[in-house]
């Protein structure tokens, strides 16, 4: 049975509040087994392609948090047992920020962070 919507976490407005709503009062270690593949400098904050590639065993959930978005929680993907530790999507970034991927796996909860710069784009119409 896959978990339901983390309603509170989609209402919190700071990263700390979001992480707390999702995981409670725990320290989440950084893992080099989580790779956030995205451009260092996103061409357009409205559509930022991002891939999360995970080498941990038995990934159960992947949360994507954009630290400067008005609602930092962008998405939480809950995976079935036959689903590999990978997700790709396109997100909105309100401003240059760190994007955090938090992975829940059989081995515990881990995170990775990647700074992404967003240009505002003054010439586009």
């Amino acid at each position: 049975m896959l978990a339901g919507r983390p309603v509170e976490a989609f209402q919190t407005e700071t990263v700390d509040q979001t992480l707390h709503a999702l995981f409670g009062d725990v320290t989440i270690p950084i893992s080099d087994k989580i790779r956030i593949a995205a451009a260092d400098l996103a061409e357009n904050g409205a559509v930022v392609p991002i891939k999360i590639e995970i080498k941990l065993d038995d990934v159960e959930a992947i949360s994507i948090i954009a630290t400067k978005n008005p609602i930092p929680l962008v998405a939480k993907f809950v995976l079935g047992p036959t689903t590999a530790g990978f997700v790709a999507t396109r997100i909105k970034l309100a401003a240059s920020c760190e994007v955090i991927a938090v992975v829940e796996s059989a081995d515990g909860v881990f995170q990775a962070r990647k700074p992404i710069e967003v240009t505002i784009g003054g010439c586009g119409v």
Partner: protein, 281 residues
């Protein structure tokens, strides 16, 4: 075969005019060769066909993001709707393609063209609306999605062909080409910038945190799905936007100045692959 003096004079005049037309014709060909050389020299690692991708041809990091999005292009829904629009017959039973075929069976890659009968540059958008009006339908608004979707579908079906637009011997066609070229190089607006200032002289450089796109072949990937709009945009809407950006009074889409600019750019892009609809930020 010698005839009267009058005939010789008119023959001579014809030769001079013909010669002038040949020279003017050679101008557009020479212009295109020069245009190509300029960009190929400025960006020596870029293979010429790639230039249809605009800024994505010259910037590797932007290209990576473009390729990521192009894996599943966001314009696909709009493209499907465009195909439905192209297939939908007018109330009188005539279809758009069969009507367009009456323009000397021109392929999408052969637009825009100079229409000797009216002395006007006919773009594909204008041709679509002429078809609609001739068959009792209301014309499509040049700023709205129905036309952009129709263009997307027609251009998509032209992939695999190459732009085939050249300036004929007709003196008026020459004049229209010259006018489009002049507009391209003319400074305008409060910022006093020409198309060439940004997109030729400064192509590849940064302005307001963006990389300025080279224009060789750029018309070939229109209409574009703009990520910033979440919708399609046409070439003429881009012209309108550009004019606004240099603080010049924009003309209306499909006005003469923009059709002439399109003609000039299409001639410059002759021989390059048709690649619409495209993706842009």
């Amino acid at each position: 075969m010698w005839r009267s003096v009058r005939s010789i004079r008119s023959f001579a005049i014809t030769l001079v005019l013909g010669g002038a037309a040949l020279i003017a014709h050679a101008d557009s060909t020479a212009d295109r060769e020069a245009f190509r050389r300029l960009y190929l020299q400025r960006f020596p690692t870029v293979e010429i066909d790639q230039f249809v991708l605009g800024v994505y041809a010259i910037d590797a990091k932007l290209r990576e993001q473009y390729e990521s999005i192009n894996e599943f292009p966001p314009y696909e829904f709009a493209l499907d709707e465009g195909e439905d629009l192209v297939l939908k017959r007018f109330a009188n039973g005539v279809g758009l393609r069969e009507c367009l075929a009456k323009n000397d069976n021109r392929g999408v890659n052969q637009y825009p063209y100079f229409d000797a009968a009216t002395g006007e540059i006919v773009s594909l958008s204008v041709a679509i609306n002429r078809c609609r009006e001739r068959n009792g339908e209301a014309p499509l608004n040049y700023r709205r999605q129905a036309l952009a979707k129709t263009l997307a579908a027609l251009n998509f079906s032209a992939r695999g062909t190459r732009r085939s637009v050249t300036v004929g011997h007709d003196a008026k066609a020459q004049a229209a080409y010259a006018s489009g070229k002049a507009h391209f190089y003319m400074k305008r607006g409060q910022l006093n910038l020409s198309c060439a200032d940004c997109h030729v002289t400064a192509a590849g450089k940064h302005l307001r945190e963006q990389t300025l796109a080279p224009l060789l072949g750029a018309v070939n990937h229109y209409p574009v799905y703009g990520l910033r709009w979440g919708a399609l945009g046409t070439l003429h809407m881009r012209f309108v936007g550009c004019f606004e950006q240099v603080r010049a009074m924009p003309a209306a889409p499909q006005s003469r100045i923009y059709r002439e600019l399109e003609y000039f750019l299409a001639v410059m892009s002759n021989g390059l692959p048709m690649s619409g609809p495209g993706i842009q930020r």
